[in-house]
Amino acid sequence: MKRVALKGIFGRKLRTALTAFAVVLGVAMVTGSLVLTDTMSKAFDSIFESSYQETDVVVSGRSLVDWSDEGNALVPDSLLRQVRALPDVEAAAGSILDLNSSANQAHLIDRDGEIVMGNGNPTFGLGVDPSEPRFNPLELSAGRFAQAPGEVVVDASSARTLGFSIGDGVKIAVGGPIKTFELVGIAKYGDVDTIGSATMAIFHVDEAQRLLEKPGYDVISVAGREGVSDDELLRSIAPLLPANAQVRTAAEQADADKKGVSEFISFIRYALLGFGGIALFVGAFVIFNTLSITVAQRTRELATLRTLGATPAQVLRSVVLEAFAVGLVASLAGIAAGVGLAVGLTELMAAAGLDLPRASTVFQTRTWVAGLALGTLVTLAASVAPALRATRVNAIAAVREGAVAPRGRLARSAFPISVALVVVSAATLGYGLFASDVGVATRILALVVGLLTLFVGVAMVATRLVTPLAHVLGWPGAKLGGAAGQLARGNAVRMPGRTAATAAALMIGLALVTFVTAVGNGLRQSERDAIVRQIDADYVVVSQNGWSTLPAVVGETAAEVDGVEVASSIRRERGRVLGDGVDVSGIDPATLGEVFHVEWSEGSPAALRSLGPSDAIVRKSFADEYGFATGGEFLVRTPTGLMLNLRITGVYDPPRFDSLLGSVLVSRATFDRSFSRPGDSLTLIWSGQPLSTFEDALAAYPDARVVDDETFVDDRAAEIDGILNLLYALLALSVIVSLFGMVNTLVLAVFERTREIGMLRAVGLTRRQTRRMVRHESIVTALIGAALGVPLGLLLATAVTRALAEYDLSLSIPVGALAVFALVAVLAGLAAALLPARRASRLDVLEALQYE
C-alpha cells in the first residue's frame, strides 16, 4: 500500500507539484521571515557590540522620557574629568554616539543642494574623541578624524554615493542653517560602510556638542587598568554619578542600546509571520481541495484496491501517507525557498543602499523545525477529510461507471454545520471586537480564531451559493462566449463543493485586501477630516519626513518674511506625567487661535490668550484618564529631568483621530524654559505671499518644507497609502497561493473530463472554443471568489469601524477599488486558466476519446 501511495505521487507529477507549491509559498514566507529577522537581529547585535569593543564600562544618561526628541539625559562634561582621575581608570572618553536618539541629527546636502533623505533612514550627526581611538567604533578608510571646528568625517557609503572626496567642502545642516565643513576623512562603522542607509556626519566631540546644542555627552566609555575587574570599575564610578546617569558594563550597554531595534525587529517578525500564516491557511484550502478531487478521481482505483483486499484503514493510510510525503517535501522546498527569499531580500536591500552588516545568514534550529512542522501539519490536517472520504469507497465502485464514494454522515449535515460555524465565528469576532474589559491577548485570540472559522464556515456555506452565483456571474460569459461560455457556466456548477473550495481560497485573500482597503479608505477620510477641522492657515512649515521637529530658528525665519499676517509655531517634545509619556506642545497664546481651531470642552479662547507661565491646557482624553479638571495641578518631567508644576486652565477636545497638538499645551515661553532644545512640529502661516517666497526664505534650512494647507492635508492622508501598499504586497502572497489552487482545480477538471473534451472536439468544438470554455470556467470561479470575498471584507471593515467608533474612524466604501478587485479576480481567473486551457485544447481528440 505504501508503494501505491508513493507511486501515485509520481504518477500525478503536475498536480502534486501544484499542490506542493501552495505549501512551499507559505512555508517559504514563514522561514524567510524568521531567517531575515534573525539575520537582521544578529547584524544589529554586531553593530551595537562594535560600539564598545575595547570598552570595559559605559556611563550613560538615563532615559527619562520615552520617544523624546531630545533622547536620553546627558552625562555632564565634569563627570569625564572625575572619571579620568579615578585610580582604577586607565582611559575614558566622552562621545555623542546615541544611535537611538533623534536628537543627533545632521543633514548632508548633495552636490545639487538637495537634502539627503536616505529614504526615511536616520541622518546621524555624531561626535567622537580622536585622541582616544580605542573607544571609537568608527574606522577610517581614508584621511583622519576631525580635530578642529569646521572639519567633518562622513561615512563611506555616503561619500561614495554623493561623490565626496577628502578636501571637499561639504554642506551640512545641523542645528540650524546650512554650513560648509571641510571633509577630512571617510569612515566605516565597525565593518560596514554605514548602518542601513543612514548617513553619518562625524565631528570632533566638542564641535558636535556645540552644533547639536548638547551640554554634555551621550556616553562616557571607560577602560580599566590592568587587573581591575569590571565590577571593581563599576563600584568605583558609581559614587560619582549624578541622578540622571548610570554605569553599566559594555555588554549590558550594548544590550540596552539595541532594545529599540530588537523590539522593532520582533514587530516585523510577527507581522511577516502573520502574513505567512495567512498564506499557509489559504494553502490548506488548496491542499484540501486537490486531495478531495484526487480521491474522487481515484474512486475506481481505490475500489479496485478494495476488491483486491485492501482494508479501509489501508486506504486511509495511503491517502494520508501521500499527503505526508507531499507536505514533507514541500516544507523542505519551502525552507530552502525561504532562506533564498531572505538572502535575496538582504541583497535587494543592499542594492537599494540599505547595507546591513555582513552577518552571515542566521539559520536557527527553530526556523527549520517551525517550517517543517507547520508545512507538514497543515498538509496533514487538510488531508483528513479527503482521506476519510476515500475509506468510504467500496469495492462495487470498481465495476460501476462513474461511481462516487457515498457521502459520510458529516458531509450530509455539512450545511447546518457550516451555518453553525459562521454563527459561532461571528459571535467570536463580535466578542473580540466589542467586548470591554478583555486583555489584548484574549482579544487577538478571539479575532484570529473567529476570522479563521469564519473563512472555513463561509467556504462551506458557499457550496450552496455557487450555483446561483455562477448563474449570475457566468451570464456575460455565456452571452459573449456562445457555446463555450455556456459549457463553462455548466462546468462551474458541476461540482459545487469543488468550485466553492477553489473560490474560497481566493475569497480569503480578496476579503483581507478589501478589508484593508475599506479601513484604509476610512482612515484616510478620518485623517483628512481631522486635519481640516484643526488647521486654518495658508501655509504650513513641516520637516521633510513630516514627523521630526525643526529647529526653532526655522519658524522664526518664516515669521519674518514680508507680508506675513500671522505666523504661529507649535513646539513639541515628550514629557512624563505620573510615569506615562505624553506629548507636550508649546504654543503662542497670542496667535494660535488665529491659525488653529481649538475645540473647547472646558474653558474658552480667553483661557488660551491668557495662558500664563505655569498654566496648561490639557486634552480631554488626558484629563479623563488621570481625573484632572480645570483648576487642578500636575507635574510634568522633561527629558533632562526638570520638573514642571502646571495648573490646568482649560480642557480642549480635538478630533480623536489625529490631534496636531499634544496632551498638554503650555505657552512657548514656558516650553523654551523647560526643554533644552526646543523644536517645532509645525509653523502655521497666514499670508498673501506666494509659496515660493517662503521656499526662498527657508532655502538655508533644507529639512524644512513649506506647503499650502491642501497639500498638507493630502500629504498626511498619503502616509496611510504607504502602509496600505505594504499590506497589499504581503496579502498578494495569499492571492498567489489561491491562484495555484485555481490552476490545480482546472488542471484536474480538464484531466477528469478528457474523454468529454475529446467528444466535444469530435463534434466540432474548435481549439479556440476549448480554451475559451476553460478560461470562462476559471473566470466564473474567480468571480465567485470575489463575490464572496469583497462583501465579507466590507462586513469585517464595518465591524471594525464600529468597534473603533470612539476614535472617530469613519467607514467609506472604496467603490473604485472594489471595481478594481473584480477586475483583479477576472485577471486571476485568466492567469490561472492559461496552462489548463492550453492542455485542454492540445488534447489529441482520438486519445482523449479512448481515455479512461
Binding site: 457555446a483 474523454r755 468529454e756 467528444m759 474548435t766 482520438l846
Partner: protein, 257 residues
C-alpha cells in the same frame, strides 16, 4: 409529415453513390522497430444512404479506419475525400469545422455532458456551431430515437440505452452527411442493443442517413446493407445484406486464416 420530408434535399441523392471515398490509405503508428501498420493501403467507397458495418478481430484496424473516414485522424499515406472535399491537406481548424458540418459520432461510452439535460445534450453540436435549432426537426428527432418524454432528464437519470439514444440524436441533429458509430452497443445488454440498432436502422431507412458502424456482434452486422471485414489492416471481405449465420461464418473464415 414524415421525417424524411424534413430532410434537406442534398441528402436525397440516389443510392449507391459514394459519399466518402479513400484511396490507398495507410496508417502507421510510431516508427522504427516498434512501428505498427494499422491500415495497409485500403481503398474504399462508402455509399450514400446505406448502413455499412465494419467487422474484424480486435486490433485489426476498425477504429483506425473509422477515424480516418471521419476526419478525426489523418492517414500516413493515401487520399480521403469526404462529401466532395479532399481532407488530406486540411488544417486542424478546417477539419474541425468540416466535422462540425458533415460528421456525426456515436461512441461506445455515451459521453454525454452530465450537467446538461437530454435535450441540451442533443442540441450541443448546434450550439457549438452557433446555430439555431429547428424546433420541428428536433421534435421529430426526439420521437425517432424515442426520448421525447425524457428530454428534461439529466444523463444520470437515464438508462444506458436511453443515454445512447440521446447520443444518436446528438449525432443526427446537425444533419450530418455521415454518421459514424464505433461499437455503439458495446456497452449495452443485448435487449437494449437491439433497440439502439433499430434506431440506427430507422435513421437510415426513414431519414436516408448514411451510417458506418463498427461492431463485434454478428446480429448487429446482419442489420447492415453492407458488411466490411478487416484483418491486419486490410479489407478482406465485402458482403452485401447477410444473415447473422452468414456473418458468423465469414467472421470465422477471416479469423481462421
Amino acid at each position: 409529415m414524415s421525417v424524411a420530408e424534413l430532410r434537406a434535399p442534398e441528402h436525397e441523392a440516389p443510392l449507391a453513390e459514394a459519399i466518402v471515398s479513400i484511396e490507398q490509405v495507410s496508417r502507421r503508428y510510431g516508427d522504427g522497430d516498434t512501428a505498427v501498420d494499422a491500415l495497409r493501403g485500403v481503398s474504399l467507397e462508402i455509399e450514400r444512404g446505406k448502413l455499412t458495418a465494419v467487422m474484424g478481430p480486435s486490433g485489426s484496424g476498425k477504429s483506425t479506419l473509422m477515424h480516418i473516414l471521419a476526419g478525426l485522424d489523418r492517414p500516413t499515406a493515401g487520399r480521403v475525400v469526404l462529401d466532395g472535399v479532399d481532407v488530406t491537406g486540411l488544417s486542424e481548424k478546417k477539419m474541425t469545422l468540416l466535422r462540425r458540418e458533415k460528421i456525426g459520432f456515436v461512441f461506445q461510452f455515451f459521453n454525454l455532458l452530465p450537467m446538461l439535460t437530454a435535450e441540451e445534450n442533443v442540441l450541443l453540436p448546434l450550439s457549438i456551431a452557433g446555430r439555431k435549432p429547428d424546433e420541428q426537426w428536433l421534435e421529430e428527432l426526439l420521437l425517432t430515437v424515442g426520448i421525447a418524454d425524457r428530454r428534461k432528464h439529466r444523463p444520470s437519470e437515464l438508462s444506458g440505452g436511453q443515454q445512447q439514444r440521446v447520443a444518436i440524436a446528438r449525432a443526427l441533429v446537425s444533419n450530418p452527411a455521415v454518421l459514424f458509430a464505433d461499437e455503439p452497443t458495446g456497452n449495452l445488454d443485448s435487449a437494449t442493443s437491439k433497440d439502439v440498432l433499430h434506431v440506427l436502422r430507422n435513421a437510415v431507412d426513414d431519414l436516408g442517413q448514411t451510417t458506418v458502424m463498427v461492431t463485434h456482434d454478428a446480429g448487429a452486422a446482419s442489420m447492415a446493407d453492407r458488411i466490411l471485414f478487416i484483418a491486419d489492416g486490410r479489407i478482406v471481405k465485402d458482403l452485401r445484406e447477410s444473415t447473422a449465420r452468414e456473418v458468423i461464418a465469414a467472421m470465422q473464415e477471416v479469423t481462421g486464416r
